[in-house]
Protein backbone atom coordinates (compact mmCIF):
# COMPACT_ATOMS: atom_id res chain seq x y z
CA UNK A 1 0.00 0.00 0.00
CA UNK A 2 1.46 3.35 -1.06
CA UNK A 3 1.22 6.21 1.37
CA UNK A 4 -1.93 8.29 1.64
CA UNK A 5 -1.78 11.79 0.18
CA UNK A 6 -5.19 12.99 1.36
CA UNK A 7 -6.96 11.76 4.45
CA UNK A 8 -10.30 12.91 5.81
CA UNK A 9 -10.94 11.96 9.43
CA UNK A 10 -14.43 12.15 10.88
CA UNK A 11 -15.26 15.23 8.83
CA UNK A 12 -18.60 16.88 9.53
CA UNK A 13 -19.99 19.98 7.89
CA UNK A 14 -23.05 21.83 9.07
CA UNK A 15 -24.69 24.89 7.58
CA UNK A 16 -26.76 26.20 10.44
CA UNK A 17 -28.96 23.28 11.38
CA UNK A 18 -28.49 21.31 8.18
CA UNK A 19 -25.90 18.59 8.28
CA UNK A 20 -24.29 18.37 4.85
CA UNK A 21 -21.41 16.00 5.60
CA UNK A 22 -21.74 13.26 8.18
CA UNK A 23 -18.66 11.50 9.56
CA UNK A 24 -16.71 11.37 6.29
CA UNK A 25 -13.63 9.16 6.39
CA UNK A 26 -11.54 8.85 3.26
CA UNK A 27 -8.01 7.84 2.45
CA UNK A 28 -6.64 8.71 -0.97
CA UNK A 29 -3.38 7.07 -1.95
CA UNK A 30 -0.96 8.93 -4.17
CA UNK A 31 -1.33 8.31 -7.88
CA UNK A 32 -4.75 6.67 -7.86
CA UNK A 33 -8.02 7.52 -9.52
CA UNK A 34 -10.92 7.94 -7.10
CA UNK A 35 -14.52 8.68 -7.87
CA UNK A 36 -17.23 10.20 -5.72
CA UNK A 37 -20.56 8.96 -6.93
CA UNK A 38 -23.91 10.04 -5.58
CA UNK A 39 -27.18 11.75 -6.37
CA UNK A 40 -27.56 15.52 -6.57
CA UNK A 41 -27.22 17.24 -3.22
CA UNK A 42 -25.45 14.30 -1.55
CA UNK A 43 -22.41 16.41 -0.65
CA UNK A 44 -19.91 15.56 -3.37
CA UNK A 45 -18.99 19.14 -4.18
CA UNK A 46 -18.77 19.93 -0.48
CA UNK A 47 -16.13 17.20 -0.04
CA UNK A 48 -14.11 18.62 -2.94
CA UNK A 49 -14.40 22.11 -1.50
CA UNK A 50 -13.22 20.84 1.85
CA UNK A 51 -10.11 19.36 0.25
CA UNK A 52 -9.60 22.38 -2.03
CA UNK A 53 -9.76 24.77 0.91
CA UNK A 54 -13.01 26.60 0.24
CA UNK A 55 -15.01 24.98 3.03
CA UNK A 56 -13.76 24.54 6.59
CA UNK A 57 -15.12 21.43 8.20
CA UNK A 58 -17.28 21.95 11.28
CA UNK A 59 -15.30 19.17 12.91
CA UNK A 60 -12.79 16.55 11.88
CA UNK A 61 -9.44 16.79 10.13
CA UNK A 62 -8.18 17.11 6.59
CA UNK A 63 -4.64 15.78 6.13
CA UNK A 64 -2.33 16.32 3.17
CA UNK A 65 0.72 14.08 3.14
CA UNK A 66 0.17 13.51 6.85
CA UNK A 67 -0.01 17.22 7.69
CA UNK A 68 -3.21 18.73 9.03
CA UNK A 69 -4.31 21.37 6.50
CA UNK A 70 -7.69 22.46 7.90
CA UNK A 71 -6.42 26.03 8.25
CA UNK A 72 -4.17 26.21 5.20
CA UNK A 73 -5.56 28.72 2.66
CA UNK A 74 -6.56 27.38 -0.75
CA UNK A 75 -3.71 29.10 -2.61
CA UNK A 76 -1.12 27.30 -0.48
CA UNK A 77 -2.52 23.82 -1.16
CA UNK A 78 -0.95 21.64 -3.82
CA UNK A 79 -4.38 20.80 -5.08
CA UNK A 80 -6.15 22.10 -8.17
CA UNK A 81 -9.85 22.01 -8.86
CA UNK A 82 -11.91 21.85 -12.00
CA UNK A 83 -15.05 23.61 -10.84
CA UNK A 84 -18.53 22.43 -11.63
CA UNK A 85 -19.28 25.81 -13.29
CA UNK A 86 -15.73 25.99 -14.80
CA UNK A 87 -15.18 29.53 -13.46
CA UNK A 88 -13.08 30.51 -16.48
CA UNK A 89 -12.03 34.15 -16.31
CA UNK A 90 -14.14 35.97 -18.90
CA UNK A 91 -11.76 38.92 -19.24
CA UNK A 92 -8.89 36.71 -20.39
CA UNK A 93 -8.50 34.68 -23.54
CA UNK A 94 -8.03 30.92 -23.53
CA UNK A 95 -4.24 31.20 -23.41
CA UNK A 96 -4.21 33.54 -20.42
CA UNK A 97 -6.73 31.41 -18.58
CA UNK A 98 -4.60 28.32 -18.93
CA UNK A 99 -1.42 30.27 -18.16
CA UNK A 100 -2.87 31.86 -15.01
CA UNK A 101 -1.49 29.43 -12.43
CA UNK A 102 1.96 29.39 -14.03
CA UNK A 103 2.08 33.20 -14.24
CA UNK A 104 1.27 33.45 -10.56
CA UNK A 105 4.19 31.15 -9.83
CA UNK A 106 6.47 33.38 -11.92
CA UNK A 107 7.35 30.65 -14.40
CA UNK A 108 9.58 31.86 -17.28
CA UNK A 109 7.61 32.94 -20.35
CA UNK A 110 9.00 30.28 -22.70
CA UNK A 111 8.18 27.51 -20.24
CA UNK A 112 4.65 28.84 -19.80
CA UNK A 113 4.15 28.94 -23.53
CA UNK A 114 5.38 25.40 -24.01
CA UNK A 115 3.23 24.02 -21.21
CA UNK A 116 0.10 25.92 -22.18
CA UNK A 117 0.28 24.82 -25.78
CA UNK A 118 0.85 21.23 -24.69
CA UNK A 119 -2.11 21.34 -22.31
CA UNK A 120 -4.36 22.77 -25.01
CA UNK A 121 -3.26 20.10 -27.42
CA UNK A 122 -4.12 17.48 -24.85
CA UNK A 123 -7.69 18.71 -24.57
CA UNK A 124 -7.89 19.01 -28.38
CA UNK A 125 -8.07 22.79 -28.39
CA UNK A 126 -4.91 23.70 -30.29
CA UNK A 127 -5.44 26.91 -32.23
CA UNK A 128 -7.97 28.30 -29.75
CA UNK A 129 -5.36 30.32 -27.78
CA UNK A 130 -6.67 33.73 -28.78
CA UNK A 131 -10.37 32.95 -28.41
CA UNK A 132 -12.26 34.72 -25.70
CA UNK A 133 -14.19 32.53 -23.28
CA UNK A 134 -17.57 33.73 -24.45
CA UNK A 135 -16.76 32.45 -27.93
CA UNK A 136 -16.47 28.84 -26.73
CA UNK A 137 -19.12 26.15 -26.51
CA UNK A 138 -19.91 24.59 -23.14
CA UNK A 139 -17.81 21.52 -23.89
CA UNK A 140 -14.89 23.64 -25.06
CA UNK A 141 -15.08 25.70 -21.89
CA UNK A 142 -15.00 22.54 -19.85
CA UNK A 143 -11.88 21.41 -21.67
CA UNK A 144 -10.19 24.77 -21.09
CA UNK A 145 -10.97 24.33 -17.40
CA UNK A 146 -9.32 20.90 -17.50
CA UNK A 147 -6.26 22.35 -19.24
CA UNK A 148 -6.06 25.24 -16.78
CA UNK A 149 -5.87 22.85 -13.83
CA UNK A 150 -3.66 20.20 -15.44
CA UNK A 151 -1.02 22.64 -16.62
CA UNK A 152 0.00 23.22 -12.99
CA UNK A 153 0.80 19.53 -12.53
CA UNK A 154 -0.75 19.44 -9.06
CA UNK A 155 -0.28 16.48 -6.74
CA UNK A 156 -4.01 16.14 -6.40
CA UNK A 157 -6.60 17.12 -8.96
CA UNK A 158 -10.24 17.53 -7.97
CA UNK A 159 -12.67 17.24 -10.85
CA UNK A 160 -16.25 18.28 -10.26
CA UNK A 161 -18.28 16.66 -13.05
CA UNK A 162 -15.51 17.60 -15.43
CA UNK A 163 -16.92 15.74 -18.42
CA UNK A 164 -20.62 16.35 -17.97
CA UNK A 165 -20.98 18.89 -20.79
CA UNK A 166 -19.37 16.77 -23.48
CA UNK A 167 -21.09 14.66 -26.08
CA UNK A 168 -20.82 10.88 -25.83
CA UNK A 169 -17.95 10.48 -28.28
CA UNK A 170 -15.79 13.27 -26.91
CA UNK A 171 -16.65 12.19 -23.40
CA UNK A 172 -15.40 8.66 -24.04
CA UNK A 173 -12.24 10.07 -25.61
CA UNK A 174 -11.64 12.41 -22.68
CA UNK A 175 -12.24 9.56 -20.23
CA UNK A 176 -9.44 7.62 -21.86
CA UNK A 177 -7.25 10.75 -22.08
CA UNK A 178 -7.77 11.65 -18.43
CA UNK A 179 -7.19 8.12 -17.21
CA UNK A 180 -4.07 7.85 -19.34
CA UNK A 181 -2.79 11.20 -18.20
CA UNK A 182 -3.46 10.43 -14.57
CA UNK A 183 -1.46 7.23 -14.81
CA UNK A 184 1.37 8.85 -16.75
CA UNK A 185 1.77 11.85 -14.46
CA UNK A 186 0.98 9.92 -11.30
CA UNK A 187 -1.45 12.62 -10.14
CA UNK A 188 -4.12 11.61 -7.65
CA UNK A 189 -7.56 12.27 -9.13
CA UNK A 190 -10.72 12.73 -7.15
CA UNK A 191 -13.47 12.75 -9.70
CA UNK A 192 -17.09 13.62 -9.05
CA UNK A 193 -19.79 12.27 -11.29
CA UNK A 194 -23.45 11.39 -11.47
CA UNK A 195 -22.71 8.87 -14.14
CA UNK A 196 -22.17 5.39 -12.74
CA UNK A 197 -20.87 4.02 -16.02
CA UNK A 198 -18.17 6.68 -16.07
CA UNK A 199 -17.33 5.88 -12.46
CA UNK A 200 -17.07 2.15 -13.13
CA UNK A 201 -14.96 2.67 -16.23
CA UNK A 202 -12.38 5.08 -14.87
CA UNK A 203 -11.85 4.49 -11.18
CA UNK A 204 -9.43 2.54 -9.06
CA UNK A 205 -11.83 3.09 -6.20
CA UNK A 206 -15.35 4.46 -5.88
CA UNK A 207 -17.03 6.17 -2.95
CA UNK A 208 -20.80 5.93 -3.12
CA UNK A 209 -22.48 8.76 -1.25
CA UNK A 210 -25.99 9.60 -0.22
CA UNK A 211 -27.27 12.34 2.01
CA UNK A 212 -23.88 13.44 3.34
CA UNK A 213 -22.65 9.94 4.15
CA UNK A 214 -20.31 7.55 2.40
CA UNK A 215 -22.34 4.35 2.08
CA UNK A 216 -19.70 2.16 0.51
CA UNK A 217 -16.23 2.39 -0.91
CA UNK A 218 -14.30 -0.12 -2.93
CA UNK A 219 -13.14 -1.13 -6.36
CA UNK A 220 -15.73 -0.88 -9.12
CA UNK A 221 -16.00 -4.68 -9.23
CA UNK A 222 -16.53 -4.95 -5.45
CA UNK A 223 -19.21 -2.33 -5.43
CA UNK A 224 -20.95 -3.73 -8.45
CA UNK A 225 -20.89 -7.33 -7.29
CA UNK A 226 -21.45 -6.77 -3.62
CA UNK A 227 -23.45 -3.64 -2.91
CA UNK A 228 -24.02 -3.25 0.82
CA UNK A 229 -27.58 -2.03 0.54
CA UNK A 230 -30.58 -1.33 -1.61
CA UNK A 231 -29.46 2.23 -2.40
CA UNK A 232 -26.02 1.23 -3.65
CA UNK A 233 -27.40 -1.71 -5.62
CA UNK A 234 -29.90 0.56 -7.33
CA UNK A 235 -27.49 3.42 -7.91
CA UNK A 236 -24.70 1.32 -9.42
CA UNK A 237 -26.00 -0.48 -12.44
CA UNK A 238 -29.47 -1.86 -12.85
CA UNK A 239 -30.77 -4.60 -10.62
CA UNK A 240 -33.67 -6.79 -9.64
CA UNK A 241 -34.19 -6.44 -5.91
CA UNK A 242 -36.69 -8.76 -4.20
CA UNK A 243 -37.40 -9.41 -0.52
CA UNK A 244 -36.28 -12.82 0.75
CA UNK A 245 -35.45 -14.90 3.80
CA UNK A 246 -32.08 -16.40 4.73
CA UNK A 247 -33.01 -19.94 5.80
CA UNK A 248 -29.47 -20.92 6.76
CA UNK A 249 -25.94 -20.31 5.49
CA UNK A 250 -25.85 -20.59 1.69
CA UNK A 251 -29.63 -21.11 1.45
CA UNK A 252 -32.00 -18.26 0.66
CA UNK A 253 -35.70 -18.19 -0.09
CA UNK A 254 -37.33 -15.66 -2.40
CA UNK A 255 -40.40 -15.61 -4.67
CA UNK A 256 -41.52 -18.64 -2.64
CA UNK A 257 -38.65 -20.82 -3.82
CA UNK A 258 -35.44 -21.90 -2.13
CA UNK A 259 -32.11 -21.26 -3.85
CA UNK A 260 -28.53 -22.12 -3.20
CA UNK A 261 -26.38 -18.99 -2.81
CA UNK A 262 -22.87 -17.84 -1.86
CA UNK A 263 -23.71 -15.73 1.20
CA UNK A 264 -23.50 -16.66 4.85
CA UNK A 265 -23.08 -15.30 8.37
CA UNK A 266 -26.64 -14.20 9.02
CA UNK A 267 -29.25 -15.21 11.60
CA UNK A 268 -31.45 -18.16 10.62
CA UNK A 269 -34.70 -17.02 8.99
CA UNK A 270 -33.46 -13.41 8.84
CA UNK A 271 -35.38 -11.17 6.43
CA UNK A 272 -33.07 -9.94 3.67
CA UNK A 273 -33.06 -8.39 0.22
CA UNK A 274 -31.83 -10.30 -2.78
CA UNK A 275 -30.11 -8.68 -5.76
CA UNK A 276 -29.93 -10.25 -9.19
CA UNK A 277 -28.22 -8.24 -11.95
CA UNK A 278 -30.13 -8.20 -15.26
CA UNK A 279 -27.09 -9.36 -17.22
CA UNK A 280 -26.69 -12.40 -14.92
CA UNK A 281 -30.11 -13.71 -15.93
CA UNK A 282 -30.03 -16.03 -18.94
CA UNK A 283 -33.14 -16.77 -20.93
CA UNK A 284 -33.53 -20.56 -21.37
CA UNK A 285 -36.27 -23.07 -22.09
CA UNK A 286 -38.99 -23.04 -19.37
CA UNK A 287 -38.05 -26.47 -17.99
CA UNK A 288 -34.34 -25.58 -17.80
CA UNK A 289 -34.89 -22.37 -15.79
CA UNK A 290 -34.81 -21.83 -12.04
CA UNK A 291 -37.68 -19.39 -12.51
CA UNK A 292 -40.41 -19.28 -15.12
CA UNK A 293 -41.52 -15.87 -16.37
CA UNK A 294 -43.68 -14.35 -19.11
CA UNK A 295 -42.10 -11.76 -21.37
CA UNK A 296 -43.92 -8.43 -21.23
CA UNK A 297 -41.94 -5.96 -23.33
CA UNK A 298 -38.50 -5.54 -24.78
CA UNK A 299 -36.46 -2.51 -25.80
CA UNK A 300 -33.51 -2.55 -28.15
CA UNK A 301 -30.63 -0.76 -26.42
CA UNK A 302 -27.99 -1.01 -29.12
CA UNK A 303 -25.69 -3.64 -27.64
CA UNK A 304 -28.39 -5.65 -25.86
CA UNK A 305 -32.12 -6.08 -25.48
CA UNK A 306 -33.70 -4.85 -22.27
CA UNK A 307 -36.44 -7.35 -21.51
CA UNK A 308 -39.13 -6.90 -18.88
CA UNK A 309 -40.89 -10.05 -17.72
CA UNK A 310 -43.24 -11.08 -14.88
CA UNK A 311 -43.24 -14.29 -12.89
CA UNK A 312 -46.46 -15.99 -11.77
CA UNK A 313 -46.46 -13.97 -8.52
CA UNK A 314 -46.39 -10.73 -10.54
CA UNK A 315 -42.79 -9.86 -9.57
CA UNK A 316 -41.11 -7.81 -12.28
CA UNK A 317 -37.81 -9.07 -13.72
CA UNK A 318 -35.39 -7.00 -15.77
CA UNK A 319 -33.21 -9.05 -18.11
CA UNK A 320 -30.41 -8.01 -20.44
CA UNK A 321 -30.35 -10.41 -23.33
CA UNK A 322 -28.16 -10.47 -26.41
CA UNK A 323 -30.91 -12.13 -28.45
CA UNK A 324 -34.40 -10.83 -29.08
CA UNK A 325 -37.39 -12.63 -27.56
CA UNK A 326 -41.08 -12.70 -28.35
CA UNK A 327 -43.67 -10.81 -26.30
CA UNK A 328 -45.99 -12.98 -24.13
CA UNK A 329 -43.68 -15.96 -24.51
CA UNK A 330 -43.10 -18.10 -21.40
CA UNK A 331 -39.39 -18.64 -20.77
CA UNK A 332 -37.12 -19.93 -18.03
CA UNK A 333 -34.54 -17.80 -16.21
CA UNK A 334 -31.25 -19.38 -15.25
CA UNK A 335 -28.60 -18.02 -12.87
CA UNK A 336 -25.69 -19.40 -10.84
CA UNK A 337 -25.61 -19.40 -7.01
CA UNK A 338 -22.82 -16.75 -7.17
CA UNK A 339 -25.13 -14.44 -9.12
CA UNK A 340 -27.40 -14.16 -6.10
CA UNK A 341 -26.29 -11.35 -3.79
CA UNK A 342 -27.94 -11.18 -0.38
CA UNK A 343 -28.14 -7.86 1.54
CA UNK A 344 -29.14 -7.44 5.19
CA UNK A 345 -31.36 -4.54 6.17
CA UNK A 346 -29.44 -1.63 7.73
CA UNK A 347 -26.02 -3.26 7.57
CA UNK A 348 -23.15 -0.76 7.53
CA UNK A 349 -20.12 -1.15 5.32
CA UNK A 350 -17.90 -2.07 8.29
CA UNK A 351 -20.30 -4.76 9.52
CA UNK A 352 -20.61 -6.04 5.96
CA UNK A 353 -16.84 -6.30 5.55
CA UNK A 354 -16.49 -7.99 8.94
CA UNK A 355 -19.14 -10.58 8.07
CA UNK A 356 -17.48 -11.32 4.76
CA UNK A 357 -14.23 -11.99 6.64
CA UNK A 358 -15.90 -14.70 8.71
CA UNK A 359 -16.68 -17.02 5.82
CA UNK A 360 -14.60 -16.02 2.78
CA UNK A 361 -11.43 -18.14 2.52
Amino acid sequence: MSKPIITLKHVYKNYGDTNVLHDINMTLEAGKFYTLLGPSGSGKTTILRTIGGFVTPSSGDVLFDGQRINDLPANKRQVNTIFQDYALFPHMDVYDNVAFGLTIRKTPKEVIEKKVLRALKLVQLSGYEDRSISELSGGQQQRVAIARALVNEPQVLLLDEALSALDMKLRKEMQVELRDLQQRLGITFLFVTHDQEEALAMSDEIFVMDDGKILQSGTPVDIYDEPVNHFVANFIGESNIVPGKMLSDYRVEFVNKVFECADAGMKPDENVEVVLRPEDLDIVAPDAGKLVVTIDTQLFRGDYYEVIAYDDDHNEWLIHSTNPTKDDQRVGLFFEPEDIHVMRYGESEQAFDARLETYED
Binding site: N75, F89, I104
Partner: protein
Protein backbone atom coordinates in the same frame (compact mmCIF):
# COMPACT_ATOMS: atom_id res chain seq x y z
CA UNK B 1 -48.62 42.96 -32.90
CA UNK B 2 -46.37 45.36 -34.79
CA UNK B 3 -48.82 48.25 -34.29
CA UNK B 4 -48.99 47.61 -30.58
CA UNK B 5 -45.24 47.74 -30.27
CA UNK B 6 -45.12 51.06 -32.09
CA UNK B 7 -47.75 52.37 -29.72
CA UNK B 8 -45.65 51.47 -26.70
CA UNK B 9 -42.58 53.07 -28.18
CA UNK B 10 -44.30 56.36 -28.98
CA UNK B 11 -43.86 58.09 -25.61
CA UNK B 12 -40.21 57.17 -25.61
CA UNK B 13 -39.67 58.59 -29.09
CA UNK B 14 -41.44 61.82 -28.17
CA UNK B 15 -39.35 62.16 -25.06
CA UNK B 16 -36.20 61.55 -27.05
CA UNK B 17 -37.24 63.98 -29.77
CA UNK B 18 -38.34 66.86 -27.56
CA UNK B 19 -36.02 66.64 -24.59
CA UNK B 20 -32.83 65.16 -26.01
CA UNK B 21 -32.51 65.65 -29.75
CA UNK B 22 -34.27 69.02 -30.10
CA UNK B 23 -32.21 70.77 -27.38
CA UNK B 24 -28.97 69.43 -28.81
CA UNK B 25 -29.94 70.64 -32.28
CA UNK B 26 -30.98 74.01 -30.85
CA UNK B 27 -27.67 74.41 -29.05
CA UNK B 28 -25.77 73.43 -32.17
CA UNK B 29 -27.87 75.91 -34.18
CA UNK B 30 -27.43 78.72 -31.65
CA UNK B 31 -23.69 78.27 -31.63
CA UNK B 32 -23.51 79.60 -35.20
CA UNK B 33 -24.97 83.04 -34.36
CA UNK B 34 -23.21 85.99 -32.83
CA UNK B 35 -24.63 88.33 -30.23
CA UNK B 36 -26.36 90.44 -32.93
CA UNK B 37 -28.13 87.40 -34.41
CA UNK B 38 -25.96 87.09 -37.51
CA UNK B 39 -24.77 83.75 -38.82
CA UNK B 40 -21.07 83.24 -38.08
CA UNK B 41 -18.34 80.72 -37.35
CA UNK B 42 -16.76 83.34 -35.14
CA UNK B 43 -17.80 81.71 -31.86
CA UNK B 44 -15.79 78.63 -32.66
CA UNK B 45 -12.90 80.75 -33.92
CA UNK B 46 -12.97 82.69 -30.65
CA UNK B 47 -13.17 79.56 -28.56
CA UNK B 48 -10.25 77.81 -30.18
CA UNK B 49 -7.98 80.85 -30.44
CA UNK B 50 -8.65 82.60 -27.16
CA UNK B 51 -6.16 81.75 -24.44
CA UNK B 52 -8.82 82.40 -21.82
CA UNK B 53 -11.19 79.78 -23.17
CA UNK B 54 -8.48 77.23 -23.72
CA UNK B 55 -7.15 77.76 -20.21
CA UNK B 56 -10.68 77.44 -18.91
CA UNK B 57 -11.12 74.19 -20.80
CA UNK B 58 -7.88 72.77 -19.47
CA UNK B 59 -8.87 73.93 -16.02
CA UNK B 60 -12.22 72.19 -16.25
CA UNK B 61 -10.71 68.98 -17.49
CA UNK B 62 -8.00 69.06 -14.86
CA UNK B 63 -10.43 69.65 -11.97
CA UNK B 64 -12.89 67.09 -13.31
CA UNK B 65 -10.01 64.66 -13.55
CA UNK B 66 -8.95 65.33 -9.95
CA UNK B 67 -12.52 65.05 -8.68
CA UNK B 68 -13.01 61.76 -10.56
CA UNK B 69 -9.69 60.40 -9.31
CA UNK B 70 -10.37 61.24 -5.64
CA UNK B 71 -13.90 59.91 -5.93
CA UNK B 72 -12.63 56.67 -7.41
CA UNK B 73 -9.90 56.26 -4.80
CA UNK B 74 -12.45 56.60 -2.03
CA UNK B 75 -15.34 54.77 -3.68
CA UNK B 76 -13.66 51.56 -4.82
CA UNK B 77 -12.45 50.45 -1.39
CA UNK B 78 -15.73 51.60 0.14
CA UNK B 79 -17.79 49.57 -2.33
CA UNK B 80 -15.44 46.61 -1.88
CA UNK B 81 -15.71 46.49 1.89
CA UNK B 82 -19.40 47.28 1.74
CA UNK B 83 -19.82 44.06 -0.22
CA UNK B 84 -18.44 42.07 2.71
CA UNK B 85 -20.31 43.85 5.51
CA UNK B 86 -23.32 42.40 7.24
CA UNK B 87 -26.03 45.01 6.76
CA UNK B 88 -24.98 46.22 3.34
CA UNK B 89 -28.43 47.42 2.28
CA UNK B 90 -28.59 49.74 5.28
CA UNK B 91 -25.10 51.11 4.66
CA UNK B 92 -25.93 51.60 1.02
CA UNK B 93 -29.02 53.57 1.97
CA UNK B 94 -26.89 55.82 4.19
CA UNK B 95 -24.57 56.45 1.27
CA UNK B 96 -27.41 57.24 -1.12
CA UNK B 97 -29.25 59.43 1.39
CA UNK B 98 -27.21 62.66 0.80
CA UNK B 99 -28.07 62.56 -2.91
CA UNK B 100 -31.70 63.24 -1.99
CA UNK B 101 -30.76 66.59 -0.54
CA UNK B 102 -30.59 69.56 -2.85
CA UNK B 103 -27.12 70.48 -4.03
CA UNK B 104 -27.56 74.10 -2.92
CA UNK B 105 -28.46 73.04 0.60
CA UNK B 106 -25.38 70.88 0.80
CA UNK B 107 -23.23 73.71 -0.51
CA UNK B 108 -24.59 76.11 2.13
CA UNK B 109 -24.02 73.50 4.81
CA UNK B 110 -20.37 73.34 3.78
CA UNK B 111 -20.10 77.11 3.82
CA UNK B 112 -21.18 76.91 7.45
CA UNK B 113 -18.71 74.17 8.24
CA UNK B 114 -15.75 75.74 6.43
CA UNK B 115 -16.32 79.41 7.25
CA UNK B 116 -14.06 81.57 9.47
CA UNK B 117 -15.93 80.59 12.61
CA UNK B 118 -17.28 77.27 11.33
CA UNK B 119 -16.84 73.97 13.13
CA UNK B 120 -13.60 73.03 11.35
CA UNK B 121 -11.90 76.27 12.36
CA UNK B 122 -13.26 75.96 15.89
CA UNK B 123 -11.62 72.57 16.05
CA UNK B 124 -8.34 73.89 14.60
CA UNK B 125 -8.37 76.68 17.18
CA UNK B 126 -9.08 74.14 19.89
CA UNK B 127 -6.04 72.02 19.03
CA UNK B 128 -3.92 75.15 18.82
CA UNK B 129 -3.37 75.53 15.10
CA UNK B 130 -5.63 78.55 14.86
CA UNK B 131 -8.23 79.46 12.24
CA UNK B 132 -7.31 78.95 8.57
CA UNK B 133 -8.75 80.14 5.29
CA UNK B 134 -10.62 77.02 4.13
CA UNK B 135 -13.54 78.33 2.17
CA UNK B 136 -12.77 79.69 -1.31
CA UNK B 137 -9.71 77.48 -1.79
CA UNK B 138 -9.08 74.85 -4.47
CA UNK B 139 -8.86 72.22 -1.77
CA UNK B 140 -12.29 72.97 -0.34
CA UNK B 141 -13.77 72.99 -3.85
CA UNK B 142 -12.26 69.59 -4.61
CA UNK B 143 -13.32 68.28 -1.23
CA UNK B 144 -16.96 69.26 -1.57
CA UNK B 145 -17.19 68.23 -5.22
CA UNK B 146 -15.72 64.82 -4.37
CA UNK B 147 -18.10 64.46 -1.45
CA UNK B 148 -21.06 65.18 -3.69
CA UNK B 149 -19.98 62.78 -6.44
CA UNK B 150 -19.04 59.80 -4.25
CA UNK B 151 -22.46 58.09 -4.22
CA UNK B 152 -22.59 58.14 -8.03
CA UNK B 153 -19.29 56.31 -8.13
CA UNK B 154 -19.98 53.85 -5.30
CA UNK B 155 -23.27 52.58 -6.69
CA UNK B 156 -22.10 51.20 -10.05
CA UNK B 157 -18.91 49.79 -8.52
CA UNK B 158 -20.85 48.18 -5.71
CA UNK B 159 -23.24 46.58 -8.19
CA UNK B 160 -20.35 45.27 -10.26
CA UNK B 161 -18.72 43.71 -7.19
CA UNK B 162 -22.03 42.18 -6.11
CA UNK B 163 -22.43 40.65 -9.57
CA UNK B 164 -19.01 39.05 -9.43
CA UNK B 165 -19.48 35.33 -8.82
CA UNK B 166 -17.50 34.01 -5.87
CA UNK B 167 -16.43 31.02 -7.94
CA UNK B 168 -14.03 33.25 -9.92
CA UNK B 169 -12.33 34.23 -6.70
CA UNK B 170 -12.20 30.59 -5.63
CA UNK B 171 -10.72 29.61 -8.99
CA UNK B 172 -8.05 32.27 -8.68
CA UNK B 173 -7.11 31.14 -5.16
CA UNK B 174 -7.20 27.55 -6.31
CA UNK B 175 -4.61 28.38 -8.96
CA UNK B 176 -2.31 29.80 -6.31
CA UNK B 177 -3.09 33.52 -6.32
CA UNK B 178 -2.98 35.26 -2.94
CA UNK B 179 -5.47 37.96 -1.92
CA UNK B 180 -3.60 40.79 -3.60
CA UNK B 181 -3.00 38.89 -6.85
CA UNK B 182 -6.65 37.84 -6.88
CA UNK B 183 -7.67 41.45 -6.44
CA UNK B 184 -5.43 42.92 -9.13
CA UNK B 185 -5.87 40.18 -11.72
CA UNK B 186 -9.44 39.04 -11.20
CA UNK B 187 -11.61 41.24 -9.01
CA UNK B 188 -10.52 44.66 -10.29
CA UNK B 189 -10.52 43.83 -14.02
CA UNK B 190 -13.84 42.04 -13.69
CA UNK B 191 -15.47 45.02 -11.97
CA UNK B 192 -14.00 47.47 -14.49
CA UNK B 193 -17.47 47.93 -16.02
CA UNK B 194 -18.63 49.46 -12.74
CA UNK B 195 -15.58 51.72 -12.60
CA UNK B 196 -16.21 52.90 -16.15
CA UNK B 197 -19.88 53.60 -15.43
CA UNK B 198 -18.83 55.50 -12.31
CA UNK B 199 -16.25 57.54 -14.20
CA UNK B 200 -18.86 58.47 -16.79
CA UNK B 201 -21.32 59.44 -14.10
CA UNK B 202 -18.77 61.62 -12.30
CA UNK B 203 -16.39 63.05 -14.87
CA UNK B 204 -18.88 64.61 -17.27
CA UNK B 205 -20.99 66.43 -14.66
CA UNK B 206 -17.76 67.56 -13.00
CA UNK B 207 -16.71 69.30 -16.22
CA UNK B 208 -19.58 71.71 -15.91
CA UNK B 209 -19.99 72.18 -12.16
CA UNK B 210 -20.76 75.85 -11.65
CA UNK B 211 -22.64 76.34 -8.42
CA UNK B 212 -19.88 74.93 -6.29
CA UNK B 213 -17.22 76.94 -8.10
CA UNK B 214 -18.93 80.08 -6.89
CA UNK B 215 -20.12 79.08 -3.46
CA UNK B 216 -17.21 76.94 -2.30
CA UNK B 217 -14.47 77.81 -4.77
CA UNK B 218 -15.23 81.53 -4.54
CA UNK B 219 -14.93 81.91 -8.32
CA UNK B 220 -11.22 81.15 -8.09
CA UNK B 221 -11.87 78.02 -10.10
CA UNK B 222 -13.55 78.94 -13.38
CA UNK B 223 -14.83 75.97 -15.32
CA UNK B 224 -16.73 75.64 -18.57
CA UNK B 225 -19.90 75.38 -16.53
CA UNK B 226 -19.28 78.78 -14.98
CA UNK B 227 -18.59 80.22 -18.43
CA UNK B 228 -21.85 78.88 -19.86
CA UNK B 229 -23.81 80.31 -16.96
CA UNK B 230 -22.06 83.64 -17.42
CA UNK B 231 -22.86 83.81 -21.15
CA UNK B 232 -26.49 82.85 -20.82
CA UNK B 233 -27.41 84.85 -17.72
CA UNK B 234 -25.00 87.79 -17.56
CA UNK B 235 -23.48 88.73 -20.93
CA UNK B 236 -26.47 87.34 -22.87
CA UNK B 237 -24.11 85.97 -25.52
CA UNK B 238 -26.16 82.85 -26.17
CA UNK B 239 -24.13 81.96 -29.24
CA UNK B 240 -20.89 81.75 -27.28
CA UNK B 241 -22.61 79.86 -24.46
CA UNK B 242 -23.97 77.37 -26.97
CA UNK B 243 -20.54 76.94 -28.52
CA UNK B 244 -19.13 75.92 -25.15
CA UNK B 245 -22.13 73.64 -24.74
CA UNK B 246 -21.31 71.94 -28.03
CA UNK B 247 -17.72 71.48 -26.90
CA UNK B 248 -18.99 69.85 -23.69
CA UNK B 249 -21.26 67.51 -25.63
CA UNK B 250 -18.38 66.47 -27.85
CA UNK B 251 -16.22 65.95 -24.77
CA UNK B 252 -18.96 63.74 -23.40
CA UNK B 253 -18.94 61.56 -26.50
CA UNK B 254 -15.16 61.29 -26.31
CA UNK B 255 -15.33 60.16 -22.68
CA UNK B 256 -18.08 57.67 -23.49
CA UNK B 257 -16.10 56.11 -26.30
CA UNK B 258 -12.93 56.01 -24.19
CA UNK B 259 -14.67 54.24 -21.32
CA UNK B 260 -17.01 52.12 -23.44
CA UNK B 261 -16.57 48.49 -24.41
CA UNK B 262 -13.71 47.94 -26.79
CA UNK B 263 -13.38 45.14 -29.24
CA UNK B 264 -10.42 43.22 -27.93
CA UNK B 265 -7.39 43.26 -30.09
CA UNK B 266 -6.26 39.69 -30.70
CA UNK B 267 -2.79 38.93 -29.47
CA UNK B 268 -0.71 36.44 -31.34
CA UNK B 269 0.74 33.48 -29.52
CA UNK B 270 3.40 31.66 -31.47
CA UNK B 271 3.02 28.00 -31.90
Amino acid sequence: MKRKQVLFEMPYFFWLAFFVIAPILLIAYQSFFNIRGQFTLGNYATYFTSATYLRMTLNSVWYAFLITLFTLLISYPTAYFLHYTKHKQLWLLLIILPTWINLLLKAYAFIGIFSQDGSVNQFLTFIGIGPQQILFTDASFLFVATYIQIPFMILPIFNAIEDLQPSYINASRDLGANNWQTFTRIIFPMTMSGVKAGVQAVFIPSLSLFMLTRLIGGNRVITLGTAIEEHFLVTMNWGMGSTIGVVLIIAMFIIMSLTGEHKKKGRKHND
